[in-house]
Subunit: 228 residues, 2 copies
Amino acid sequence: MRRQPRSEVTRRKLVDATIDLINEIGYPAAGLADIVERAGLTKGALYYHFDSKEALATVIIEEGMVLFHNIFQSAPDSKHRAFESLIVGTFTTADLFATNGTVRAGVKLLRTFAGFNPTAKLSYLSFVEQITGDIKRAAAEGDLRQDTDPTDLANTVVAWTLGAELLSSSVSDGHDFRDRLARQWRVLMPAIAAEESLDAYQAFVVTASATQSNLVEAPRTDPHRELR
Amino acid sequence: MRRQPRSEVTRRKLVDATIDLINEIGYPAAGLADIVERAGLTKGALYYHFDSKEALATVIIEEGMVLFHNIFQSAPDSKHRAFESLIVGTFTTADLFATNGTVRAGVKLLRTFAGFNPTAKLSYLSFVEQITGDIKRAAAEGDLRQDTDPTDLANTVVAWTLGAELLSSSVSDGHDFRDRLARQWRVLMPAIAAEESLDAYQAFVVTASATQSNLVEAPRTDPHRELR
């Protein structure tokens, strides 16, 4: 059954107000009363749409993940090498994080809930799966060291990306996320690229880190619901 | 002015109840009513000691950081090389996380608050500072690649350790944290160790990852307050 448009607008206002508050004061400090006030609605309206604050959080995690996957899938990459796409993908992630409030709030919620919310757990697993696929293709193309296990490398790349976001959000409110990724790629590249490709990939990181992604901010009132 | 012992016992009960609930159901789900009920006390008692749930969280972050620093400082390491101490330190961190509920709750709170709480920000900065010191000493001892910036490497090591905890807590409730660290060290060692020490350090990681730290669970009623 499709929701009525007005009901959908109300629901959207609640989600958007929550996103803003998470990014401004953090999820723990954003109470239901604050959310309702920010949305210009009543608690009744909130409880009509959401059982709890965590239900709102789960919707935001899901929407953030849809945006994230759209970006990666809209760039299928027959003309690039898999390892290039992986490197560019991490910088695109940083740009999506910088420009899209839903993604930024979603990432904060993921680390707040981690093992306590099934959607958070699935999001991390799907991130690892995505990167594992990229790395296996890069290995098949001969661009990676042969002594590295692809699954271990994928988990490592995901871990250092998540850790960079966490450090960046803690010490610079997220502003140095892109720069941290560039420095980490530079430091770790000798453990990843095949020796004969190492210099080329170090140069590629310099170029990729200096190239802003061509992202268009998603319209706030587009629910992206069909895509879930 | 020193607190009265009974007041201190009450305060401790509240902190311990909060730690347990954070580890069992997560910080967002742990309401003040739950904390008071678990502690067998009243809301009045809670508000006598703490202004808010975040004030409790801040105390737990601080106590976790004290435990963390005590472990590192109680092993001053004149007989080990700095790089060995750094590697062992990451596994000790994992063991402290596995065996100590205060540390486990503190780590979860750090990633929940990140940039929104000054104590969380300071904790991350002090972690990076600690690792930077280790890495500079390891570089001076000739055990690291010469083409790596020590500060960048330190931030990278901290990022991948934090990311490993986050992934581990999400997908295995923290049980595979130690194993993740071992795999990450193995994958990344070629980017860190000097070429002539690489084999020796890969072997060292195997040994270190198989050696459980000799940690004694800190008594729950010891407030560690003198140390702050």
